[in-house]
């Protein structure tokens, strides 16, 4: 039997993913997800920059689909990024058919023509991930760069990794952090 604890390391209150895998979750096991390790992160924010350079051809952290927050007091850098939740409350919440699941990567697709920036997806998201494009009227959510995340490739510390969802290292990671 295996369990998924993908978010526990930063967001301590999410326990509802514990338990035997549903059929849907079993299918999902083939997908990969992003995982950030705060203790490895040095807070250089190169991930934010490569993200906006590849998506928008500019640098602009407020458009970045992964964002690093520094807590000077705790001396810790943590990341905000889409966890591609299996139940995807954002898709549920969208009344405009703007969000869907990408079957290749498991990422959340945003149809910017349909999106009206009502922010219901943000309200539904347990991690407050979706961001409003700073100048246009639609939502931005990580697309996992089609399966080859640029943030992972540029991170000098391997602090953000693209890992199998049934990562057997979960326990190790929990300890480490």
């Amino acid at each position: 039997m295996c369990y998924i604890y993908p978010f526990k390391l930063i967001f301590e209150n999410i326990d509802n993913l514990k338990g035997p895998l549903t059929e849907w979750e079993m299918i999902v096991m083939n997908y990969k997800e992003l995982k950030h390790y705060p203790k490895k992160c040095i807070g250089c924010r190169l991930c934010e920059q490569i993200c906006t350079m590849t998506h928008f051809k500019v640098t602009n952290p407020s458009k970045a689909l992964i964002r690093i927050l520094r807590d000077d007091e705790k001396q810790l850098d943590s990341a905000i990024y889409c966890h591609t939740c299996q139940n995807a409350p954002c898709i549920e919440a969208c009344q405009y058919d703007a969000l869907s699941r990408n079957s290749n990567t498991n990422a959340i697709n945003v149809d910017k023509d349909n999106c009206v920036a009502c922010m219901e997806c943000l309200n539904a998201c347990p991690y407050e991930i979706p961001i409003l494009h700073p100048s246009d009227n639609y939502i931005l959510i990580c697309d996992l760069c089609g399966g080859e995340p640029e943030c992972v490739s540029i991170c000098p510390e391997n602090a953000i990794m693209y890992v199998e969802m049934d990562n057997s290292n979960d326990n190790e990671i929990l300890e480490e952090n």
């Binding site: 040095i42 250089c44 350079m53 928008f56 500019v58 602009n60 952290p61 000077d72 001396q75 000098p156």
Partner: protein, 605 residues
Amino acid sequence: MVYFSGFHGKLLRIDLTNQSSSIDKIDSDLYEKFIGGRGLGAYYLTKEVPPKTEAFDKNNKLIFMNGPLAGTLIPGNNKICVTFKSPLTNSYSYSLCGGHWGPELKYAGYDGLIIEGKAKSPVYLSIDNSRVDIRPAEKFWGKLIPESDKMIRNEISGNKTIQLALIGPAGEKLVNYACITSGLYREFGRGGAGAIMGSKNLKAIAVSGSGDVEVDNPDTVIQIGRELIQDLRQSRGGKIRREYGTMELVERINNAGFWVTRNFTEGFFDEGYKLEGTKMREKIVIGDSSCFGCPIGCGKRTYIKYQDDSELLMEGPEFETVGMLGSNCGISNWETLVKASKICDSYGFDTINAGASISMVMEAFEKGILDLTETDGIEMRFGNEEALLLTLEMIGKREGLGDILAQGLLKASQTLNVEEFAIHSKGQSFPVYDPRGAKAMALTYATSPKGAHHMLATTFGTELAMGNRFEIEGKGLLERDQQFSMAIVDSIAMCSTMRAGIPLENQAKAYSAVTGIKVDNSKLLKAAERIINLERMYNVKLGFDRSQDTLPNRFINEPMPSGKSKGQIVELELLLDDYYTIMGWDTDGIPTKKKLKELDLIEYV
């Protein structure tokens, strides 16, 4: 008018007297002539602040300038320069700060920010893209930096990406070497920019930006950015810096016998081995910390639990701090040095000048020139850890002896009548490298427009590598080349540490890809020379010449007593002759008309 990528072409001007703001265009040819950052700072200070302006006069300005690479994917793109007339040296001054504040200002849409005038009562500035507010700051005034940082962040709630630059009590109370601090542990450290901010009643500058920084050729910038990150991570210098931060230098400098020891009475600290980077990593480091866009992460996160169960979790201390508060004061205990660093960071003043002030008193006390009546009853002896911590607090609060030391070495040594122990040039204290052990450093200290400052040209690395550190031949040329190298990185916005893996050719390549301005090495070098000459001319107008390019008597007349630099003195006059000739300056150290003309500087000076 043609604008280049990497620049916005505008600066934000804040008039605190009239509580107003405006936006100035920056002429595009200025970018070509002065690059950005430190170079544009030199241009604006020369243009707008007459040299004779008193440092705390409302007509003095704080000129913050970003460089073209700031906020781009080119690694280490985070340095912003502030230029001002210094209260410490009464001369031209500039200071650079890493961290995340400079890039944020760029994302807010500004290449630069000029603060002028003086507010009637304490205020802070909030810049949220084009929205600029000047708000009351009475409730933050008097608060230590970590506390003020938190309170101001709470007041501007709901915005997670705000970056703050602020002053602590030291800046408010006009300690002449007060810093402007950003992100708690990054500073515009030297020359007293924090005191200028305090004199203007400005507590903090909060910035939040959500605009684009465009580059000329995004694909090339991505490619170059990736390559340079690899180069840095694989370079020997980069790897060592990554592991041990700036503390890697202790072993090299101490063993070569030119590490500040007991107020420069010696160049080798016998307990220095306890302070080496490997020891720091082993004893107190729990993680690493980077400035914006930097793959090195030289910042070291440290944690100490004390016997009384109190704890300190912070970033640092850095090499200069450990040298000036440690070996310079005869102290090798990490527990004390972390505490000492925290005091300086909390009140917001330069650890280098503070350490030099305290060691000056310690030497005078040990030699019987000062007694307990003049030191508020504190046994100011080398190695007295309690004395160090007490005096640092007193500087931050401007109490007793601390109030005297807060004036800076020049005035404090006059007040206490201990001038022979004040190790400074132009009023700026020496940092940790004793110039008797690396002769070109003497030129760095003596000719720097902002007084004895190592980052004008860190020649000691080359001198160690070349094995010619005691020689004076060729040092004028080395000094010039290193000054040019620093003027370039300081102006394009790149951290000097990046030079470990990014040589000038690659800096030029990156600059071209970002801006679309085709440059080669020679064009950047020419701009660097222009910047250095413009800075020099500001001081010349103050009456500075060769007679201000001095070193303390100690380095010129007292041979190094022990260690691997034993017997060395600095042959300053010979070094200066060589350097002035190479710079095309006259024998008084004044740039010639011919030189200024050659650099197209006549219209600016």
